[in-house]
Structure formats: structure tokens, C-alpha cells
Amino acid sequence: MSGYIEAQLIILCLSVIYAYAIFLPAASGQLNLGAAGFITLGAYTSGWLNGSDGLGLPMALSIVLSMAFVGAIGFAISLPILRTRGVYMVLATFAFAEVVSGIAINMEFLGGAAGMPVDAHAPVEVVVGVAIAVVLFCFYFMSTRLGLALRSIHDDESVSLLFGVNVRTARVVAFTVGGMLAGLGGAIYGHHYNYVEAQTFNVLLSIYILLYVLLGGTQTAWGPLVGAAFFTVLPEIFRQFAVEMGSDWLADSRFIFFGMFIVLMMVVRPEGVVTRTMQDRCAGYLSGRRARTVAAGE
């Protein structure tokens, strides 16, 4: 594997983990613009637990403990944050991320603005393995009765309530588990690059992650995977294309085209790239083709 492909693969895996972290609350209709905050928490916590200046724990234990810590923080802030709705929730989660960032930058023992080196290294296999595990977990999670309840809440909260769904608990669980996954993503980031700096986890990252989820589609568990893959791979394809054309102008302005493409996507597929109907149609097509193949084989 060439270094370039490997680097892109790592970015893709991290994006997928982040996207699923934000997808879980989004599936029940909650917009979380605080991904960067959870990622920062996970990255610094695991780095500190593992580091010789901290507790010097093994990497795997540090990652698990940091997830538990981020989950606890997520649970604590979910209680006030889930009282807000719509754009106010976006602002509340954004504010949370800014607070975390501010704290990380001002903590001397975490390296302050200079960032913090992380000791143990997570090789590419670990990053890919964790990303696959997260995807599988989220597919499982969304297929459970709890996942069904989350999708019901997304569609109609008051009717879900009348059928006995504990709406508040379901939302808290989705938000907390999502926070833990973002923390996991942050921890993996830190251990792979062996360095964390609060400024890399800025609001632009949160916005991108929310975009992956919303443009990928929140109706099925495929959405974040498609969204994250799309947004990670597409700018690279644009870049490659510009290089082949030998045009500096094209290379410099590729984000203009990328931005236009995002707007176009919102117009053409306002409910996201992958919708429930599309998933059904694909499944129908695949099972139909299998049936035809079997028939042809006979």
C-alpha cells in the first residue's frame, strides 16, 4: 500500500467513525454540532492515560477508559442539551465543543496550545479494524427495538410517546453512545498520529461531520458510511483530476466545485443520498438479480 493511499484510508476511517458518532443522535432528529468537543476529549484523555506523564496505562485500556469518560461527560451534558430543539441544540452543542477546546488549550499539563505528544502508536490495521467495528455496531444498534424507537422519534415524537416509548431516555442513550464513539475516534486519531492539538479539532471539523451525516442521509445506517466516503474521496478525485489536467487554477479552486456540488446535492437529494426508499429499491434489485441468477443456473 502506497503511503498516499494509506494516509487517505486513515482519514476515511476516522471520518466514518466520527460520522457514526453524530449519526446516532441525528437518527432521532437531534443535530449535534459538538463532534469536535467529544473528539478532543477522547484524544486528550486517552493520550494522557497512556502517556508517561500521565498514568502510563496500556493503549487498549486507555482507549476504553477514555470512551467511558467521554460517555460520562456526554451523559451529563445530554440532560440540559436535550431540552433544546432544532437550531438551539446546534448552538448548545457547538458551545460545548468551544468550551472543551478552550479548556484543552489552557491546561498546562496537557501541553496547552503547543499540543500533546501521544506515546503508543495505533497502526493502520487497528484504525481500520476499529472503523469496521463501529460500522457493524451501528448497523446492529439501528436494527434493535431501540433503533426503531429512535427512528420513530425522528418521524413523530408525540405518537412514539403514546406507544410507550421513553423518548427522553432513548435520546439520552443515542447522544451518549454517539459521544462515546466520537471519543473513540479522537483516541484513535491521537494514537495513530501520536500527537494531538486542540486546534485541529475545530468547528470546521464538526460542520464537516454533520454534513457527512445529513448529506449521506439519516434514515438508514448506510447514510453516514456513504456520506463520509463521498466527502473524503471526492475532494481527492477533484485534486487528482486537476493534477492530470496540469492546471494550477483547477487545483486551487477545486473547493469551489466541491461547494457547488454540496449545494447541488441538497437540491437534488434533500433527505440525503441514501433514503429508506432507495435502500428498499437496491435490496429489491439485488434479491431480484439473485433470483434471476438462480433461475438462469437451473
Binding site: 448497523f139 446492529y140 439501528m142 436494527s143 434493535t144 427495538r145 431501540l146 433503533g147 426503531l148 424507537a149 427512528r151 420513530s152 425522528h154 418521524d155 413523530d156 408525540s158 405518537v159 412514539s160 410517546l161 403514546l162 406507544f163 410507550g164 416509548v165 421513553n166 423518548v167 434514515q219 429508506r276 426508499t277 428498499d280
Partner: protein, 263 residues
């Protein structure tokens, strides 16, 4: 006298200064098919919302199957044996038919194990089988995997009834089930409701279509301006001068005076 599955006593509800429900009391006999009728704005849907706990009552009590549920939060009322459909279809548009029905089972899935069971991954499981059987029994077996938003209105109405039924209620509340249906769809719905009634579930229905009420129900409660004005069999209601007056007005009492009464 037969046992009552629902007893409403002295129910009051005001929105601001407007008295919407004024001292309404009625009982629903177990196994009966009771209709709640009245002109527009009589407070029928408000009664339903008070029964299902969408808003709290100002005064009065609601007793369901022997337990006082007046103060019980709406999400727990389904546990006491009450389930409802809605005036405008409130199915989850992004869920398939069978998933909508499985939502109706939610109140029966208490344990963490039930909540974390992968309904969608294991295609043969008892919950899904039960939901599909319920649809099949209602004559809706052909659409289990389809997203409900794409189905005809009459089919969606019947899916709402099936969804409410899988919570295994003792009392089924139906808010204008026949509204917007054509004759064929109304007949199909009526057949489904008769099937529901034969299974021992008590039905309380708010309805405008008097023809539908006469065909389906054996007891009628009539409301006007938030008060109960009459109660009896469909035939008695049909002959009652009070009811006729409420709907059409009389020569002696102009409708305007009724409005003055209520304010």
C-alpha cells in the same frame, strides 16, 4: 349491569378562558362499541386527548379497567390498556408497514434484552412474525416491507388500527377513522373494526359519519359545546330532538343562542 372498561367522571378542561370540556361524565361498557359524536367544535377530540393524556384534565377522573389513570403520564397509559389512532394519519412515514406495527409492540417490550434485540437483522423473530400475522389477519399481508408514505390512504388508516391493536389494548380509541375514505375503504375499515370488536376489545370512536356510526356502534354519547347532551342507542339518538337541535338548530332556538350559552 356489565362491567365498565372506561369511566369518565366530571371531566373539565379550559384553554385560557374558553371552557372546552364542561363536566362530562360517561361510561364505556366492556366489549361495547361506543361512539362519541357531536357538531364541529363540540370537544370530541379534546376528550380523546384528555383520555390519552396529551394534555392534563383541569378536574375530573378517568378510570381505565379499574385503575385511575387521570394523573398517569401519556407514555404509560398504553401499559394500562389504552391505545389510539389519530384524526390525521400519524404513521411514521419513513418506516415500513411492519416496522410501524412493531412500534405498536413497544409497550410490551420492557426488558433491556427486548430493547437490544436486533429486529432488523434476524428476519425470523417472534416480534416480526407477530406483526406480519397481525397485518395478514387485517387483510394487509401484501405490504409488510413497503414504506407507508407510498401506500393508499385507506390502507394507511387500517395499518393505524393494526398498530394500535398489537399493543394489546382493552380499549381502542379511534379518532374519525372513516374521515376521507371512499365507500369501499369505509366498508373494509368497518369489517376490520368488527373483527377487533369480536376479539373482545372495547371500541370508542369519534366520528362524523352517522351512517358509519349506526352500522358499527351500539352505544352513542352526544356532545355539544363541551357538554354531554344525550346518551343512548343509535336509534334513540336518531330520534332525539335534543340531538337534532344540536346539529340543525330549531325554529324556536336559533343557533346563535347556543353560542351565547357556551361563552
Amino acid at each position: 349491569m356489565a362491567e365498565n372498561v372506561l369511566a369518565v367522571a366530571g371531566l373539565h378542561k379550559s384553554f385560557g378562558g374558553l371552557k372546552v370540556i364542561d363536566d362530562v361524565s360517561f361510561d364505556v361498557e366492556r366489549g361495547s362499541r361506543t361512539a362519541l359524536i357531536g357538531p364541529n367544535g363540540a370537544g370530541k377530540t379534546t376528550i380523546f386527548n384528555l383520555l390519552s393524556g396529551v394534555y392534563p384534565a383541569d378536574a375530573g377522573t378517568v378510570v381505565l379497567a379499574g385503575s385511575d389513570i387521570t394523573e398517569i403520564p401519556s407514555k404509560d397509559r398504553v401499559l394500562h390498556g389504552m391505545s389510539r389512532s389519530f384524526q390525521n394519519i400519524r404513521l411514521m412515514p419513513h418506516l415500513s408497514t411492519v416496522e410501524n406495527v412493531m412500534l405498536g409492540q413497544h409497550a410490551r417490550a420492557h426488558s433491556l434484552r427486548d430493547l437490544l434485540f436486533p429486529l432488523g437483522l434476524i428476519s425470523r423473530n417472534r416480534w416480526r412474525a407477530e406483526a406480519e400475522a397481525a397485518l395478514e389477519n387485517a387483510g394487509l399481508g401484501t405490504h409488510p416491507g413497503e414504506v407507508v408514505a407510498n401506500l393508499p390512504y385507506g390502507v394507511q388508516k387500517r395499518i393505524e388500527v393494526v398498530r394500535a391493536m398489537v399493543s394489546r389494548p382493552e380499549l381502542l380509541l379511534l379518532d374519525e377513522p372513516a374521515a376521507g375514505l371512499n365507500d369501499v375503504e369505509t366498508r373494509q375499515l368497518q369489517e376490520l373494526l368488527e373483527q377487533v370488536s369480536e376479539s373482545g376489545v372495547t371500541i370508542l370512536v369519534v366520528e362524523h359519519d352517522m351512517h358509519f356510526v349506526r352500522n358499527l356502534c351500539n352505544h352513542v354519547v352526544v356532545l355539544n359545546f363541551g357538554r354531554k347532551i344525550f346518551e343512548g342507542s343509535p336509534e334513540e339518538v336518531h330520534r332525539s330532538p335534543v340531538v337534532l337541535e344540536a346539529y340543525l338548530g330549531t325554529e324556536e332556538t336559533a343557533p346563535g343562542e347556543n353560542v351565547a350559552d357556551a361563552s
